[in-house]
Amino acid sequence: MAGILLLLSVVAPSCKKKGSDQDVKFVAPASFPQPVYNMAANPLTQSGFVLGRKLFYDSRLSRDNTIACGNCHQQFASFVHAGHTVSHGIDNKLGHRNTPALVNLAWSYDFFWDGGVHDLDLVPPNPIKNPVEMDAQLPDVLAKLRNDSKYPGMFKAAFGTDEINTTRFLQALSQFMYALVSANSRYDRYVRGETKLSSDELAGLALFQQRCSTCHATDLFTDRSYHNNGIQTGISDSGRYNVTLDPADIGRFKTPTLRNIEKTSPYMHNGSLHSLEDVLDFYGASVHYSPTLDTVLQRGGTTGITLSADDKVKIIAFLKTLTDDDFLKDPRFSEQ
């Protein structure tokens, strides 16, 4: 009994002093699987988190000091680029993929739509160097930070000395990013027995578990694996194939989480769907066949998932219970 009480006090989300940086800590929700990120090698500290947040919102990480990570990853939209089909970076250049949400990254095995990067610490060099995102050279970025009046002191607070090196720079960004845990939506409170869902929402949950949760699995709402869900008419973006060069992976993409999905439009790796209604209509009637289309989405001669108009309404009602307002408005995650 004492053991159970102790466990609860560790995993329960903190209720006091919400929103203050002193309160920053990593809490693994009881309903989630084990985190993947190696926190022992980069433990979350208040000063490390504050440094990571400053870096995340600092446009000096880009070549011409115009674009910060936070430009494309906006908190109110669960850290997607609100309203942008594909990313919009430096010199008004367009990327070729939709910006994914940054939530519960500590549970990810690999990153980006095709999973090309397998360590959160190694994610930032990609947008920083990408010519259509931030287009900077990493040694130049580190030099800017070294010449700044504030950063050396912040690195000292976070890591013991004012040395600014690659490891510290990347680990600070990771501390901010892995602290972005979303687990206080109405759905989570329902799971914890703290609130009730409406009958439509519950019916939607049941339908979701039958039709969608093979891929959008567990309370992370992703199986963290790769599937072709038939979103592309032809194959213009080969997805996972670019990383593995295995023809079976052509057109496969990482299953995205559905947390805060109400806020992350437009949807899919190419941003081609604009509302949840569009998404459900797509799964019901417009799933495109190609040789790698997931077998779950192939039934006899047809493709897609059987969904009545009523099913769609209920599934959408359920999906909206995944909105976590505390997360979307948490002042600790905002630009200061």
């Binding site: 060099p125 990609n126 490891t167």
Partner: protein
């Protein structure tokens, strides 16, 4: 201080006498240092970036970048016994045009007569997947290795050859006709994929006589042209550019034999 020195002298003397009394054919004791020097060439001439060369296929190439990683060195004695250099002492990036990058100096090599050197072109899979804190020096992804690392498919670029060539298509962004081979791929993290790690094994008639207080240098030649001719003939016209793709394994099989030992010196 003096006392201490005397003590060490005494110790050395004891070790020396025990060693010589135990073994009839006395092997040298202690450790020495070996420098492996990388001298990039184009066929029979010294390589200079910005100079036009005629390839063995009769095409024209003006190299603008020629960089490669070497690592996992093993030194082989004349009797076949091997000394494996500790991995973290020998991840080395050779950059044509940067003189200091031509030399890899290995300290604390056990004394002996070495006639062989083995290494890989590239970076082993363990290092390709190591935590960022273990990627220092030539492996620093935001430092020395920042242009020898793929950020979107994380892994080191093992070999990078870029150059201007009239046989390559005109690149409007660069404003010239460019060829490029960026070769990497260590076998994959969560799914198996291409592996371009290539092993090199070279032997020399002259031994590097490693002794304490002495220094040996192994001068290697690396011939850029090797990538175009064997075992497969690769023309710039047919293959002007490759990065992470299946054909890159053909390219790495060709450049795997670009090295030869030119000479060995013992100082």
């Amino acid at each position: 201080m003096k006392k201490y020195n005397l003590y060490i002298l005494a110790l050395v003397a004891i070790i020396a006498t025990t060693a010589s009394s135990c073994k009839k054919n006395s092997t040298p004791d202690g450790t020495g240092s070996v420098t492996v020097h990388f001298d990039n060439r184009y066929a029979s001439t010294d390589l200079a970036l910005g100079t036009a060369y005629t390839t063995s296929n009769g095409e024209t190439l003006t190299p603008t970048t020629f960089n490669y990683f070497v690592s996992n060195f093993v030194l082989v004695k004349s009797d076949g016994t091997k000394y494996t250099v500790p991995k973290d002492q020998c991840y080395h990036l050779v950059r044509e045009g940067v003189d200091s990058s031509a030399d890899l100096t290995i300290q604390n090599v056990p004394a002996g007569d070495y006639t062989g050197v083995q290494f890989i072109i590239g970076v082993d899979s363990a290092k390709n997947t190591a935590p960022v804190s273990e990627r220092t020096g030539d492996l620093d992804v935001a430092g020395a290795a920042s242009d020898m690392y793929w950020t979107w498919n994380s892994g080191y670029i093992f070999y990078k050859l870029e150059g201007m060539s009239p046989q390559a298509p005109y690149d409007s962004m660069m404003g010239m006709a460019m060829m490029y081979y960026h070769v990497g791929g260590y076998g994959g993290m969560s799914s198996a994929t291409i592996n371009n790690i290539r092993t090199v094994s070279l032997t020399s008639g002259t031994a590097a006589q490693v002794r304490s207080g002495h220094h040996s240098t192994v001068y290697l030649y690396a011939d850029v042209d090797a990538v175009f001719n064997a075992p497969v003939q690769i023309t710039i016209a047919a293959n002007p550019g490759h990065m992470f793709d299946q054909y890159s394994t053909t390219i790495s099989a060709n450049y795997a034999d670009m090295f030869s030992i030119n000479r060995v010196t013992n100082d």
